[in-house]
């Protein structure tokens, strides 16, 4: 399984091309670059996942709140 993932990742990375700043028109579209605009909602969603799912959290911490532990 991990070997397949490694192989797939290598193929994807080998297939990537260098994109110059003037070629980033599509990458900068609001539908592609959503991280900043959805940041506040992601905090809420992470908190809900951490409160109701056993595998919530992990790479981040959020203390307190209903059902937090």
């Amino acid at each position: 399984m991990s070997l397949r993932l490694l192989l797939l990742s290598s193929l994807l990375l080998a297939a990537c091309q260098h994109v110059a700043p003037y070629e980033r028109e599509y990458l900068a579209r609001p539908s592609m670059d959503t991280a900043m605009r959805e940041a506040s909602n992601r905090t809420f969603e992470s908190h809900v996942h951490e409160a109701r799912e056993g595998s919530g959290g992990g790479g981040e911490t959020s203390g307190g709140g209903c059902g937090c532990n």
């Binding site: 260098h18 506040s40 809900v48 109701r52 595998s55 911490t61 209903c66």
Partner: protein, 374 residues
């Protein structure tokens, strides 16, 4: 409580040190000559509904960027629990009877080193409610290489929590946790980006809920799960833009494993459709499943030794989430009397979670809010 306060002081000291460094550090930026400050303000109202719990969660925040590139951000979150969870021992609805306050402040700055850009950000957070206190510090660092074609991101957090029980003054619990994540974002071509990441969590202390009791031979006993939890997650995100349809597809996946025996799998598909330059619609489907913790039982025998819990989220279950989000760019307000709000957006999001946990039932999550840039 004293430990949490000390931790909060430590967080404050770290932030002040970073602030001093950012103010003193020199980088050349376009806005430095004009002395212009830029930034944004946002305000959200989040709503969570399930059979046993309803939560209103208003949030507001501000981000500022100084002419020398130093970023300051602060936000405040109020958690208003309208009907406390059955898991917390309530037998009937009690309106607005629990409040949680969570202020958060942070500071960051970007540094150009040749073609590479290093971005540092430090955040401190404090959360307080009648029976729970939490303080955390997070350091984020990202390194953009090859004209932003490759971005490495690191995040590390330290958290100290202290819990009490309003129904049992003798109870006192502490959690000390470390968490970290590493990710690699790679532009594949002018319409495609791939991100892979690893998350790690280390929690030690009382990791249960003091209000939750497990059944041992039909007699209630306060749950006491293991005091150490090591968590690992692997995530990936593939985004692709289809210019002819003005549509973007985001495919996300996460696998999770921990030393309690919980294994999680979580694929998600999001489709974003642009309507003109003003309207963006997002549709999503999320699947979640997990195995139960090794020590989870609905009822424990009298001679059971070791950890016990009645936490439904440590049982085997799966859930399905469907939802939408609509974003409206406020550019259309230009040249009207609301011209000051033309550089922003308003949004509405609604998700329905069909969950397999009978105690909680299905969930509805909603968010409405707005963001204004200046």
């Amino acid at each position: 409580m004293l430990r949490v306060a000390k931790n909060a002081t430590f967080v404050g000291c770290c932030l002040l040190a970073l602030l001093a460094y950012c103010i003193c550090a020199r980088t050349v930026r376009a806005d430095e000559a004009s002395g212009t400050w830029t930034g944004s303000v946002f305000s959200d109202l989040n709503y969570y509904y399930e059979r046993s719990t309803r939560v209103f969660l208003p949030t507001g925040g501000v981000k500022l960027e100084a002419p020398n590139g130093t970023r300051l951000h602060a936000d405040y979150l109020l958690d208003v629990i309208t009907s406390a969870s059955v898991a917390a021992g309530r037998t009937a609805d009690q309106l607005n009877d629990e409040f949680r306050h969570q202020p958060q402040v942070g500071i960051g700055k970007g540094f150009d080193i040749g073609d590479t850009r290093l971005d540092l950000d430090a955040t401190g957070r404090y959360s307080t409610e009648s029976d729970y206190e939490s303080a955390s510090a997070t350091l984020d660092a990202s390194l953009a290489l090859f004209e932003k074609n490759t971005i490495l991101h690191f995040s590390g957090s330290r958290l100290v929590d202290h819990s009490q029980s309003n129904s049992d003054p003798t109870f006192s619990g502490t959690i000390k946790a470390w968490a970290g994540s590493l990710s690699l974002e790679q532009v594949l071509n002018p319409t495609m980006v791939l991100t892979v990441g690893y998350q790690f969590g280390h929690q030690r202390g009382y990791l249960g809920n003091p209000y939750r009791f497990a059944q041992r031979q039909a007699a209630p006993e306060r749950e006491h799960p293991p005091t150490l939890r090591l968590r690992h997650g692997l995530s990936s995100k593939w985004t692709s833009y289809v210019p002819s349809l003005r549509l973007a597809v985001h495919a996300l996946a996460r696998v999770y494993i921990d030393n309690w025996g919980v294994r999680g799998l979580n694929p998600e598909l999001r489709v974003y459709k642009e309507f003109g330059e003003l309207l963006l619609l997002r549709l999503r489907y999320r699947y979640y499943q997990q195995t139960e913790a090794d020590f989870y039982r609905t009822s424990y025998p009298r001679d059971w030794e070791g950890a016990i819990t009645s936490d439904p989220k440590l049982a085997h279950f799966r859930s399905h989430t469907v939802g939408f989000r609509v974003e409206l760019n406020t550019k259309f307000l230009e040249s009207t009397f609301l011209d000051f709000a033309a550089n922003g957006m308003v949004y509405l999001q609604l998700d329905r979670v069909f969950t397999g946990i009978p105690r909680y039932g299905d969930q509805i999550n909603g968010t409405g809010g707005g963001l204004l840039r200046f």
